[in-house]
Symmetry: C2
Subunit: 352 residues, 2 copies
């Protein structure tokens, strides 16, 4: 049993219940823009050690909450833990980005991918979830997460980041059967991974479809959304996970909001290319909406940041079901003072 | 007086008149994927010499038309000719991308930007237009083009390409007045530039808003669309340019199609994130639509390319007003055989 939750703004907003003010958290809120994060990372030696050591992952998860009155914590981890556990050998060197020593390029590569046992292969993640949940002591809810199957597939096939996803998209067109086999294997692992995070104490589960927006309207439905739909369905049918809200975020998915909401998820994440009021009119009666400030606004001065936060809060208007966030992760060079201005303004400008 | 036009499919499609089959051209159809282009470029020594020598620009413009039965030629040039003529000192080195030796970072930098005299500053472009139009001998219409003011601003402020546009977007938020001054100066130059291309023989004028999709819903209208609207208005009021169709393409602009069509432009370009049928239903009664195959499909085999072309042709359906194209420029590594399959399939699958 975990400590009682003191701040339930996030969970109320997800249920589209009235709140005293709009809850706010920030994608990558634990990260390089914080000096204390850089110190812990230095202590850990490298990024993967930070992810794989529950005490250190817990420490950096809590760091932003000591500075800012955020309304949620999000597990410190990486979206690439699953392919790493499948044996692709992840390295995450600063300046280089993620690399897999053993990318997945052929049918044979796909067929030999192992079925994960989450408890043994990714126990460091669920251990971190439980530790953080206890350490939070009910301060705010804890969000667990995963990469979407398509997003994981891009890294697995390309062997790292990519500008145009030539190899991963090439597989979708040239050998859709192999692509589906790969996506299904990843989806099966993601489902078990999220169930395990829920069982370990995660109070919201988020799926980051960072590269769904690179797909066409047609291939998005077939190769990304279909698998996120499976994930939502499986979680809603699971005795433990069924009461844990699920949030889907396809960056660049503004054209497909209706389809995303129809998966049965509880929250739809928005990037800044969609206006809050149009998104609310399109799907906001069926789901909560998370977003959507352009992270580059945080390069401006604190008063300009506050102005833009106010504009977004007002654009959403006096409705229930808004979770304020950026439309993408915070950049490493941002001044924490500007984050302070953001959080303070969300709470002040949305005060009921 | 120019030679009479033999193939008017493109111009008919733009007017949403019946055609015998759908016209097709390809963004960056003259480019590195063609061995004959690489040979001419080698001969020129560098990319800028190629752009600035009308005979060479003409040669590479015509090269893809000798291989493929394309329905349009597009002037070989670069979107950065205007800032280069303004004195920012463009260099375009392979592997490095465009760089400006003198980026625009301050109010003083903006204020000292010169007003261009197109005839003397960019005469090499209008000379190339006239030469190409004559050399085409009426084979197909010639498209002239420019970068959009916002897209040019990103390069001018960042000093080159950018992942997140921190400086350019920073200016929008921190000093919108300076940003508007810069955008207005660029817009004034773009208008004169396009008028001069029309007077020199361009039969369609296209505005590439390559980075409009990086803006928020709110800033797109203020800082990109507003200036493209000015351009369309000025061209439609010009005695020479008024009959030349104008095409606007905001990559990543799928959420804003209605607003783009309302500028009074004749063609709206689509990337692959929007489905052809939904775009047609949203705006296709007021404008022609150009697009929208994902360029990475060309990494697949010729029969998969043909399959996807057929899917898009059928998705648009038996309506007037479709110009087939990719949703972004063709990649340098593509096999010309696949381009051949694309062009052939567009004509065959759309035969009336």
């Amino acid at each position: 049993m975990f400590p009682e939750l003191k701040n339930d703004r996030l969970l109320r907003a997800i249920k589209r219940q009235p709140v005293d003010c709009t809850p706010v958290w920030i994608m990558r809120q634990a990260g390089r823009y914080l000096p204390e994060y850089r110190a812990t990372r230095k202590q850990a030696g490298d990024f993967l050690t930070l992810c794989k050591t529950p005490e250190l992952a817990c420490e950096v998860t809590l760091q932003p909450l000591r500075r800012f009155p955020l309304d949620a914590a999000i597990l410190f981890s990486d979206i690439l833990t699953i392919p790493d556990a499948m044996g692709l050998e992840l390295s995450l060197d600063e300046g280089v980005g993620p690399r897999f020593a053993k990318p997945v390029r052929s049918r044979a590569d796909i067929e030999k991918l192992p079925v994960l046992d989450i408890a043994s292969d990714l126990g460091y993640v669920t251990d971190a979830v439980t530790l953080i949940r206890n350490e939070l002591d009910g301060l705010v809810p804890l969000i667990g997460f995963t990469g979407s199957p398509w997003t994981l597939m891009t890294y697995m096939v390309e062997g790292g980041s990519s500008k145009d996803f030539a190899l991963a998209k090439g597989m979708l067109h040239d050998d859709p059967e192999s692509a589906h086999l790969l996506l299904q294997k990843v989806t099966d692992a993601v489902i078990e991974y999220l169930k395990a995070q829920a069982a370990a104490g995660a109070q919201v589960l988020m799926v980051f479809d960072s590269w769904g927006g690179a797909l066409s309207d047609h291939t998005y439905s077939l190769f990304s959304l279909q698998y996120m739909q499976q994930i939502v369905g499986a979680l809603k049918a699971d005795p433990v996970a069924k009461d844990i809200p699920v949030s889907l975020f396809t960056k660049g998915g503004g054209n497909w909001l209706e389809r995303i909401a129809e998966t049965g998820c509880d929250v739809v994440g928005l990037d800044w290319t969609v206006s809050m009021d149009s998104a609310r009119q399109r799907i906001g009666s069926s789901v909560a909406l998370q977003g959507n400030m352009d992270p580059t606004v945080l390069y401006a001065s604190p008063d300009k940041v506050s102005q833009e936060v106010e504009r977004i809060v007002n654009e959403f208007g006096a409705h229930d079901g808004h979770i304020f966030n950026l439309g993408h992760g915070i950049h490493p060079g941002i001044d924490p003072e500007n984050v302070s201005a953001l959080v303070e303004t969300v709470h002040r400008a949305s005060k009921r």
